[in-house]
């Protein structure tokens, strides 16, 4: 008798647990550390508005996010690049069908000290400067002074954009001053008339002069149209068209409120918001 009561009780608990889980949905997000701050900010606001939903966000890199999407251990894979052919093939073999959702643009701008007479620079010149082939401002139309190269740590997402769009796989010269954050780059360049640095468009301030690249001004518009060369799209991938909480979360990210968060984190929204 006692036993049946106990087992009934246990079953009741189990059912309660199960229904509890299904009613309070969970969304798992993994992937790119560049997209991480967007996902995190959006998840916090989304959970505040929907107390029943719990979202877990973690980094690990775009490749790891894709891997997790392919083996089914995540609902959303953050990625700072488009999916690779190899990954598509692996996903389809696993009977999964990745769908990209563009959530933001990452636009990286070269900056110099306001006293620097230079206004425009080409991608080739930037590549020369950062790989150490061009060492004097004279060679790019400035004063006869050594160029002080300021870069980000090689593990940062901002550096990743720079590496793929500017350096094209070449190594940054060892003498480059590596800074740990966008803020530190802004600080160093704004205090040094010989320095050149680069940072996310959201961090450009009045103490810095943003250079035009190949004659194109960096702005949300030129980033959106793709005419500014140092920018990339940031994605969230789902398996098939999303449903349920995953869908409402993605809808929130691309909504005007979500895009305001994108802007706050220093990225470019995917459409003009006021």
């Amino acid at each position: 008798m006692k036993r049946t009561i106990l087992s009934l009780f246990a079953m009741g608990m189990l059912i309660a647990c199960l229904t509890g889980i299904t009613s309070a949905g969970t969304v798992v997000i993994k992937g790119s550390t560049t997209v991480l701050p967007i996902a995190q900010a959006a998840a916090e606001d989304f959970m505040k508005a929907n107390p029943g939903v719990s979202i877990s966000v973690s980094g690990g890199g775009s490749g790891n996010g894709m891997k997790a999407l392919i083996d089914g251990s995540t609902d959303i894979a953050d990625s700072s690049r488009f999916i690779k052919d190899k990954e598509v093939k692996m996903a389809v073999e696993n009977n999964r069908f990745p769908v990209p959702h563009r959530v933001a643009l990452d636009c990286v701008v070269p900056v110099v000290h306001p006293d620097n007479p230079l206004r425009n620079i080409t991608i080739d010149q930037l590549k020369g400067i950062y790989s150490g082939k061009i060492r004097n401002w004279k060679e790019v139309g400035g004063k006869d002074k050594k160029i002080v190269v300021v870069s980000r740590d090689t593990s940062s997402g901002t550096y990743e954009v720079w590496e793929s769009k500017v350096l094209g796989g070449e190594k940054v010269l060892p003498e480059a001053m590596l800074q740990a954050s966008n803020g530190a780059v802004a600080q160093v360049v704004s205090k040094n008339p010989y320095a050149i640095g680069y940072l996310g468009i959201g961090y450009v301030n009045a103490e810095l002069k943003a250079l035009t690249v190949n004659g194109v001004v960096a702005s949300p518009v030129t980033a959106l149209t793709g005419s500014f060369p140092v920018s990339r799209e940031l994605f969230m991938f789902t398996n098939g068209w999303p449903t349920g909480d995953t869908l409402s979360f993605l809808n929130y990210v691309v909504s005007p409120e979500g895009q305001k968060l994108v802007q706050r984190e220093g990225f470019v929204p995917i459409y003009a918001i006021e």
Partner: protein, 315 residues
């Protein structure tokens, strides 16, 4: 306290005996509690040590110890990656050596002044003020170096960057002076009065007494102070992260920027993927730093024991 307790045979005997055994038990309890508390820190150090090695050693499967320690290029995220930390080791050594060149004379001379020459009133002001230096958070010193000192150095000496070995050394010296000064002062104070009196009695003047008697007598303490000050400079992170400039190249002059070991770890750890080669390489960098500071502390310990002034006869 473990020896046999004499048993009293008078009437009150049984009672006092019981009280005694109770107090002895309490004492035992206190003793073992204190023992446990003191082992906690040893256990923690041991665990940190273990963890550091467990996370750091795997890098040596990909990179030989030799090319890790003496490689000149640090490109952890490229394919193929390069994990050479020689520029960082040299950066660390350059910064801490230069900073001790500045901090040792300053710290030592101020200690001699405070301990031997200053009047009581001056002593009461200078000593706490020097010790106050130690309580300035390192991030504040780093910020000062970055925002005030770097532009100043750059415009005064017409440099290409103010964030360099020299600037970092000045900032680290500021942090090491209080350590060196207050430990040396303790050592000088500990020199016994009879030594000084004997020196004066032999006709030595104040300068001779200080330079030939008091300082040599306190030498082991002073050496310890200097080495501990240097090891503080070696392990300091925030200041070098903000002020040294961050270039992973071997500095060719004191006005080149560099990237000391702690700065490299602090800047990259957050973005290195968990358990990747890069992650293990950063832990291995931590091992190198740990071994370096450990050697410094061992040396300080050795010197303080070997040259300890015991009594007046050994001088």
């Amino acid at each position: 306290m473990n020896g046999p307790v004499p048993v009293k045979t008078d009437r009150a005997g049984t009672r006092s005996n019981r009280a005694l055994s109770k107090s002895r038990r309490a004492e035992k309890l206190i003793k073992s509690t204190l023992f446990l508390v003191s082992t906690v820190s040893i256990v923690i150090i041991g665990l940190i040590f273990l963890f550091l090695f467990r996370e750091g050693v795997p890098i040596f499967k990909v990179e030989s110890i030799r090319s890790f320690l003496f490689g000149r290029y640090w490109y952890p995220t490229y394919d193929p990656p390069e994990f050479g930390i020689l520029p960082m080791i040299i950066g660390s050594l350059a910064v801490s050596l230069l900073s001790s060149l500045m901090a040792v004379p300053l710290g030592l001379l101020s200690a001699i002044y405070i301990s031997e020459l200053a009047s009581q009133r001056v002593k009461e002001i200078t000593k706490p003020v020097i010790e106050l230096l130690a309580s300035i958070p390192s991030v504040v010193i780093g910020f000062f170096g970055m925002v005030v000192m770097a532009p100043f150095l750059q415009s005064t000496f017409d440099l290409y960057t103010g964030l360099n070995v020299f600037n970092a050394s000045i900032m680290l010296a500021v942090m090491a002076v209080p350590t060196i000064s207050s430990l040396s002062e303790d050592a000088l104070n500990a020199v016994s009065r009879e030594l000084r009196e004997a020196s004066y009695a032999l006709g030595a003047n104040r300068w001779e007494t200080i330079s030939r008697v008091v300082v040599p007598a306190a030498l082991s303490g002073i050496c310890t102070a200097v080495i501990l000050g240097m090891s503080r400079a070696l392990g300091e992170t925030m200041v070098v992260l903000m002020v040294a400039g961050g270039a992973a190249a071997i500095p060719r002059s004191i006005f080149d920027s560099c990237r000391p070991l702690p700065a490299s770890i602090a800047a990259e750890m957050a973005e290195a993927p968990f358990r990747s080669d890069h992650y293990h390489a950063l832990f291995a960098t931590g091992i190198v730093l740990f071994v370096m500071t450990f050697c410094f502390n061992l040396l300080a310990d050795y010197i303080s024991h070997k040259y300890r002034q015991t009594g007046t006869a050994t001088l």
